[in-house]
Assembly symmetry: C2
Homo-oligomer: 283 residues x 2
Amino acid sequence: MLDSNWFSEPHAPAGSAISFRIKQKLHSEKSEFQQIDIYETHDWGNLMVIDDCVMLTTRDNFLYHEMMSHPALFVHARAKRVIVIGGGDCGTLKEVLKHEEVEEAIQVEIDERVTRLSEQYFPELCTSNSDPRAKLLFIDGIKFMAEAEPESIDVIIVDSTDPIGPAEGLFNEAFYQTCVRALKPGGILVQQSESPLVHMYILAPMRASMKDAGFAAVRTLLFPQPAYPTGWWSCTMARKGDDLLSFRERDASNKPFRTRYYNTDIHRAAMALPEFVREAFGE
Amino acid sequence: MLDSNWFSEPHAPAGSAISFRIKQKLHSEKSEFQQIDIYETHDWGNLMVIDDCVMLTTRDNFLYHEMMSHPALFVHARAKRVIVIGGGDCGTLKEVLKHEEVEEAIQVEIDERVTRLSEQYFPELCTSNSDPRAKLLFIDGIKFMAEAEPESIDVIIVDSTDPIGPAEGLFNEAFYQTCVRALKPGGILVQQSESPLVHMYILAPMRASMKDAGFAAVRTLLFPQPAYPTGWWSCTMARKGDDLLSFRERDASNKPFRTRYYNTDIHRAAMALPEFVREAFGE
């Protein structure tokens, strides 16, 4: 048993829980959309929790944020216009803006409070918010995509919560169709796609919906993420085009910015699928 | 807070905890060496806990057991004689014996009770215990290695608990020297080497000790393991020889046995090191 010095996220479908030892609760509020709590932990920096689900910790968010952005941006020949749906902590936006070829990066987060609290408690993730190429919108991402100009976007990154509550509409074919329409030829959609070990019931149908919506290529990348259920997570790339295997390896090897997880070896490695995942994907 | 329906392993150095929802405690005993508890979980099958540390669950032990055995056995040209130090649950032994080239596999577990309880609560891991090539010894692995015939072993797999308590002596240069002596030229030592994110203070010195002991090549492989702290784990291979990069890829692709995690892509992928790990290793 863990006492009140620990924050725990019991993950009911998986029957497992991940916990962090905490020093104090720093903030708690019910925003227009969800319950947001911030804790100071002993060993993981600050911790943001939305509707009782861990969103990020200071210590390990680099894994997720780097893998949500760099693989897609090094697969794309030259992503000039990037949209982040969700991602209110601004960590994905920051990684996207490390790419010099990006001319405009728009973060479309429904809940402004997530960003304001991130500015306060995760300031290191928000250092690019004032980049002249960055635009922060606090509106509904589903509506934004439905109204987006056809063939106007190079990369869409869906950095959302789990597919329950506000994010539910980001995991279905109708949404993916709006993405297909809004992407330029060769454009790429990236979506966080849960744990391969315990969420195959979400991941496999999600991939099928992407294909049904018209994406010619779909590829799931795996990476560690200790703060999320099972500590093993995935993102799935879908392309309006037929190749997600090759990437700009030389540019990735000579990238003019620092990463802590991502590199060319990791990019290739993330595409390796375990036997049970291949079987589940029918590959 | 998690109530008494959960088993939790709070991992003090990391300030995080992993928990499983349990149905009941199946067994509890203090053996000659350690406290052993077995639980039935809701979603992870059975759970073995030694001295309050999770050893394995039915659901996810395949990740660890496959990665402790198959990479080394496919790097080695033809491992005829394999020693497993620890590994009392017999899961590693079972994976080793899937390789036809193995003529003798000796499991050297100090605590016979671990194996007897595994036979009862994890019978699927013990199905090869009666293989005529298998030998189960219940003696001290450190002493076994110290007394081993020089150049008599092809692969040594140290499938131990953490480097505190009985396993402490398995993580130092003196032990590695006995391994170097006992291995044939080209022989390989594999050791579980903790979490890259929170145990670098164990992992980096361990690698240095292996090199100091005379291993020419040392390589750390990363893989997911939800039941262990951070859900991200590693094993380290050390070779009495200079190559750990190449492996029998064709044999691995055409392996005549089934795995659930390991395949050739995963083998290569496991060797990819994230930026922060490369920096910590000085590579």
